[in-house]
């Protein structure tokens, strides 16, 4: 019963947080200078005054601000994210169409970075000041210090001019019909460069974190006890130390998803990956505010969910913490 109540409270909390994000951004956009109808007019090449008035009423822009906000929130709670100013299509549809691409990219990148980074970090922790450890530190620092869009562009130069074996743009090849194994392989092939580029950013974090975390854990009491008990180094490292060392890494993993759209925007731009990041960027430039708000909302929901998941995961891994 207690658990259920706590869960409910958490759910409420999460929902309120998401709502707050949406409200803030809605207000910000409405209050800022600039008239969305004029932007729409510009993108249409000019409109008649009659049409201008029509659009204004259609998008509810002639209502007072609190009314607009209330209407918007009401719609959101019913799952209606409004219509894109630019495409005049439902925002939820536009987002749904782009989510898989971004999800694929981000999940793959994080997976690659996590596995590779943790492995490197653990390796480095065995001889914390040895040459391998220092090399790994420098390598991972390099991946982090180079701007992700620049790394991507370096790869584009490599694979577009020098060694054209990988596609540097889009998610599908032109002739793909989107069906069957061939299409899946096609997407996988297109995914290689963007995934690798995005993973470079997270790679640094995970290897540093897991190295530091492992070192800290390895110096702690119960590890000394385990060693004193005569357990093999291998056992100590992987069975005891790693589990605990993973805790901060898992926390970071959860926080990472706060960057679902952020890191993806830059990589998606460089590789013209048709994801949410691209949609967000294009919509901002077009002043397509309903779509921007929709993406912000979606992002917030994902982050809140991931936070909850991370909390739960944390509790699972760490035997010392129980609900």
């Amino acid at each position: 019963m207690d658990n259920l109540l706590a869960l409910l409270r958490k759910a409420c909390h999460a929902a309120l947080l998401t709502l707050a994000v949406v409200v803030l951004n809605f207000l910000l956009i409405r209050l800022a200078p600039g008239d969305p109808v004029e932007t729409i007019a510009g993108s249409m090449g000019g409109i008649t005054d009659e049409l201008r008035a029509q659009l204004r009423s259609q998008y509810g822009l002639d209502q007072p601000l609190p009314v607009q906000l209330a209407t918007y929130v009401k719609h959101v709670l019913h799952g209606d994210l409004g219509y894109s100013y630019f495409f005049n299509l439902p925002v939820s549809g536009l987002i749904a169409e782009r989510v898989p691409a971004t999800l694929l990219l981000v999940l793959a990148s994080v997976a690659v970075a996590f596995v590779l980074g943790t492995a490197l970090g653990v390796l480095a922790s065995r001889k914390p000041h040895g040459p391998l450890s220092q090399a790994i530190t420098v390598l991972s620092m390099t991946g982090h210090a180079a701007p992700v869009f620049w790394s991507g562009m370096m790869l584009v130069i490599l694979f577009a001019s020098v060694w054209p074996i990988l596609p540097v743009s889009d998610m599908h090849s032109m002739t793909s019909d989107g069906q069957g194994l061939a299409a899946v392989l096609d997407v996988a092939w297109h995914m290689v460069l963007p995934t690798f580029t995005l993973s470079l950013v997270y790679l640094a974090q995970y290897s540093r974190l897991s190295r530091a975390s492992m070192l800290e854990v390895l110096g702690s009491d119960y590890i000394r006890t385990a060693r004193a008990k005569g357990l093999s180094e291998h056992h100590v490292l992987y069975h005891h130390a790693l589990r605990n060392a993973l805790l901060p890494v898992v926390t970071v993993l959860g926080l990472q998803f706060g960057n679902v759209v952020a890191g993806a925007i830059l990589v998606e731009t460089v590789f013209n990956w048709p994801g949410l990041g691209r949609l967000a960027f294009d919509s901002i430039l077009r002043r397509d505010y309903p779509t921007v708000l929709g993406v912000l909302l979606f992002s917030a929901i994902v982050v809140v969910l991931m936070n909850q998941l991370t909390d739960a995961l944390y509790r699972l891994i760490d035997p010392r913490i129980r609900a």
């Binding site: 947080l17 994000v21 803030l24 910000l28 914390p128 390099t142 912000l296």
Partner: protein, 299 residues
């Protein structure tokens, strides 16, 4: 650096220093012993020097056309080549540093100020204040940083000020969390209780007593924040949302992107500049971390 784990029995665990001057000299010595940290400092010093004094030495307008478009590096009129417009890439590097580094520092300072204040108040007072501030922290953590910054910059038109503000506003939660944790750890310790006993006010305790002791991890975090801010600004400029009237490294990369395959030098060199800056800051940060972190000092 420090001795490996398995030798020398651990010294008595380092307790929080009790109203004793910080072992700054030890920390400093440790920092100096790290080759990586020294290399980073040297690199950063060079970069800052070029950014500050370069324009005085190499007097050229980064926006001026000096040679034919897309001239390869090695040309006497433009040693690092020209971009798609015929502008000097070297001039761009020299002048671009100011914008990139300035925004990085200002944004980091801003986020540090906000984060410190929020974290200190939340960690020290606890209770309702903590609740409220934690909610705010959560809110800003949930907000997608780059996206929100893009919206801010587009709504209020891009200038170095707007960009610094946007980055600062979206990046303070990490510092806040750290500060809050430190304050919660330190506020109930003996030396703080002692101060309260002798009648010190809350303000004094927060700013004069606890904060100095909480500084080590905050200094490291602040240093890293500068690197992140530089990358953040580069990203915004790359996307075309930087200050278009100021030359910055991100802007150079973004505007040369359509000519990437024929004019790679206009993209590679500014990227290397950003990379070098952030790398040097990371090295320094790491060095500081090792020097100031008492737990590691044991080894």
């Amino acid at each position: 650096m420090s001795s490996p784990v398995s030798t020398a029995p651990a010294a008595a665990p380092v307790a929080a220093p009790a109203a004793v001057p910080h072992p700054a000299r030890d920390a400093w010595r440790m920092f100096l012993r790290s080759r990586a940290a020294l290399a980073g400092t040297l690199l950063l010093a060079c970069i800052v020097a070029v950014a500050l004094f370069g324009p005085m030495v190499y007097d050229a307008d980064p926006f001026a056309i000096v040679a034919a478009p897309q001239t390869a590096p090695g040309d006497p009129d433009a040693w690092l080549g020209t971009d798609q417009l015929g502008r000097d890439v070297l001039a761009g590097l020299v002048y671009g540093g100011r914008a990139s580094l300035a925004v990085g520092v200002v944004a980091a300072v801003l986020s540090a100020l906000i984060g410190l204040t929020a974290g200190a108040l939340a960690g020290y007072y606890g209770g309702g204040v903590d609740e409220a501030l934690t909610r705010v922290m959560e809110f800003f953590q949930v907000l997608p940083a780059l996206l929100f910054a893009m919206v801010l910059v587009t709504l209020f038109s891009p200038s170095l000020t707007t960009i610094s503000l946007a980055i600062g506003i979206t990046s303070w939660t990490a510092t806040a969390r750290l500060t809050r944790a430190e304050f919660m750890r330190l506020r109930d310790l003996d030396f703080v209780r002692a101060e309260r006993a002798i009648g010190a006010g809350n303000a004094r305790i927060i700013w004069r007593v606890i904060l100095p002791n909480a500084l080590p991890p905050l200094v490291v975090s602040g240093t890293m924040a500068i690197g992140s801010a530089i990358l953040f600004e580069a990203g915004l400029s790359f996307l075309g949302l930087g200050d278009p009237n100021r030359m910055s490294w991100g802007l150079m990369i973004g505007s040369a992107r359509p000519y990437l395959l024929t004019c790679w030098w206009a993209v590679v060199f500014p990227g290397l500049a950003i990379f070098a800056s952030v790398l040097s800051i990371s090295l320094i940060g790491d060095g500081l971390n090792d020097a100031l972190n008492p737990k590691l000092r044991e080894r």
